[in-house]
């Protein structure tokens, strides 16, 4: 579970952390991904595991388009840039939720049978649910991939450089909008991947994103803005804390543990565990 939080969060870490753009519609990106993988299953009987790359690709396009149509302009605001970003993406989230309600109805849906759903695997006497296990594997792969992408390729460096100083970057011939559109696409694709896997074992409904979005923000901030590794570590910590809290407190309070740990960490380290900005 923690690794899945990590996967949701790492997409956000890319957008929120590396590019320093607030995205309050991240949970809704997740919701769209879950619906996509549901409909691919319902109409074409494609197993969520197979359709995951398709969903990720679709979300990549979606993320890039959202950046070019909306966020680009929100970032251009001279005054109150932070608030403009918050409310532009918040408005977007409301619209997406409304559209989902309109087209998909508020009904709860789930994918009844899939290759992984409901199966468990036994490793050394411990039973583990398969979907979560696959999710964890995909998350680790995605993290490693993203880590190398950010730190070893020119494009990854370009993203960081663009956040640092858009003006200077323009001087060396990097198009800020292309870099950020790509970054948004990638962030959305990662959350798409998470959504496709989660569609197997979570109910799908228009408001599903909201419950995960706050945890994703907390995960990113816990790890520290500007750090991919931080989001990964944050995800694992959040997953562990949630599991431990669920043991000691009633299940409805399990998020309290996560929030308390976040507060504790930032009081001691005001920039999160591995934050650079």
């Amino acid at each position: 579970m923690g690794l899945l939080y990590g996967l949701i969060a790492v997409g956000l870490a890319l957008i929120f952390g590396l590019m320093d753009v607030t995205n309050f519609a991240h949970g809704e990106f997740l919701m769209i991904a879950m619906y996509l993988s549901f409909f691919l299953f319902a109409f074409f009987a494609i197993d969520p595991l197979l359709s995951a790359p398709l969903v990720a690709a679709a979300l990549f396009v979606f993320g890039a388009v959202i950046y070019l149509l909306l966020v680009r302009f929100a970032m251009r605001a001279k005054a109150n840039a932070g608030m403009v970003q918050i409310f532009t993406t918040f408005g977007l989230a409301i619209v997406m939720r409304g559209l989902a309600q309109y087209f998909f109805t508020p009904d709860y849906r789930s994918i009844p049978q899939s290759w992984l759903g409901g199966k468990t695997i036994s490793i050394a006497g411990i039973f583990l649910p398969e979907p979560q296990l696959v999710g964890a594997l995909v998350s680790i792969l995605a993290f490693v991939g993203l880590y190398f992408f950010i730190h070893r390729t020119d494009f990854g460096r370009a993203i960081e450089a663009t956040r640092e100083d858009p003006g200077a970057v323009a001087l060396v011939g990097i198009d800020k909008n292309r870099v950020f559109a790509f970054g948004w696409g990638l962030g959305a694709a990662l959350v798409g991947l998470a959504g496709a896997i989660m569609a197997v074992f979570f109910y799908i409904y228009p408001d599903v994103g909201a419950s995960f979005a706050l945890i994703a923000y907390v995960t990113v901030a816990l790890g520290g803005f500007g750090s991919v590794f931080g989001a990964f570590a944050g995800g694992i910590i959040v997953g562990l804390v949630e599991a431990v809290t669920a043991l000691v407190l009633p299940p409805s309070l399990k998020s309290v543990g996560i929030y308390a740990v976040y507060l504790l960490v930032v009081f001691i380290r005001p920039r999160g565990l591995f934050g650079s900005i």
Binding site: F16, T22, L70, F73, A74, A77, K78, A79, N80, A81, G82, M83, V84, I86, F87, T88, F90, G91, L92, A93, I94, V95, M96, R97, G98, L99, A100, Q101, Y102, T105, P106, P206, L214, Y217, V218, A221, F225, P250, S252, L253, S255, V256, Y259, A260, Y262, L263, V266, F267, P270, R271, G272
Partner: protein
Amino acid sequence: MDKDFAARRRRDLIIAAVLAAIAALTPLFVKDVVVQNIMILTLMYAGLSQSWNILSGYCGQISLGHALYFGLGAYTTELLFTKFGVLPWFGMLAGGAVSALIAMGLGYPFFRLRGHYFVIATIVIAEIGLLLFHNWEWAGAAMGITIPIRGDSWLKFQFLRTKLPYFYFALALCCLAWFVTWWLENSKWGFWWRAVKDNPEAAESLGVDVFNSKMGAAAVSAFLVAVGGSFYAQFVSYIDPESVMGFQFSLLMALPAVLGGIGTLWGPVLGAAILIPLTELTRFKFGGSGRGVDLIVYGTLIVLISLALPRGLLSLFSRPKKTGAAR
């Protein structure tokens, strides 16, 4: 310059008095209960947003967790009323005091944080409050509290047959929040806050007590929001954690100020006067379908306004030379 400033402040006060007088007379002409309801909510949100604006607009500490104080105000009042029979008027003050104290207690660790870390911390603390009230049996847990009906009276601040008293109280609350803002704007606090917002390091070096000025803003802001929460609880006469402490309240308090002009005296009032009727009307017109059309319309409006007018609607009225300086 000083003369201009004094003149502007006098003008603001006169405009406010005239607007309040006009608002006070409207119920003579508007008898429709639905419209009166919208007016009450508009005034309440104007007051709440004005209070939010003190901490987040003037002092620059963006809080998206003010629902906590709103909920605390509502719960303190109603717990005192239903469990101990304390009149809501005292409960209101108690709620304000509790919220102000908690805001200051939280301020100690919170005001060390900057930027996103601070904003997320405020969201998280409100969410913790929400979850705790959800699980607090004595306070009604998820079922909430239904306020017992004891008949119409000013003493118990409960009116069944008419909404007018609520209207006048909301108006008074809105005026109070406005007046407090107006008064603080020109006090040493107001100048400190703007200095802290623009550049905390520079302010500190010039002898501004940055930490205490943030604490002051938080306390005033939380107190007024909690009074709003108490009012809301009496007005709707039923509260549960979700309906008074949910995240949407934090946003609904911030939104009018942001739309009208954050960190300005008139921004919250203007923003609320436009936003709240619009919200209620879209809900009224499109909400019945249950298919989210109201959400689509509402969300689109928020996106368009925040993109088109990053400084808020007030920027439409100010002359270009003024827009440079943050008032």
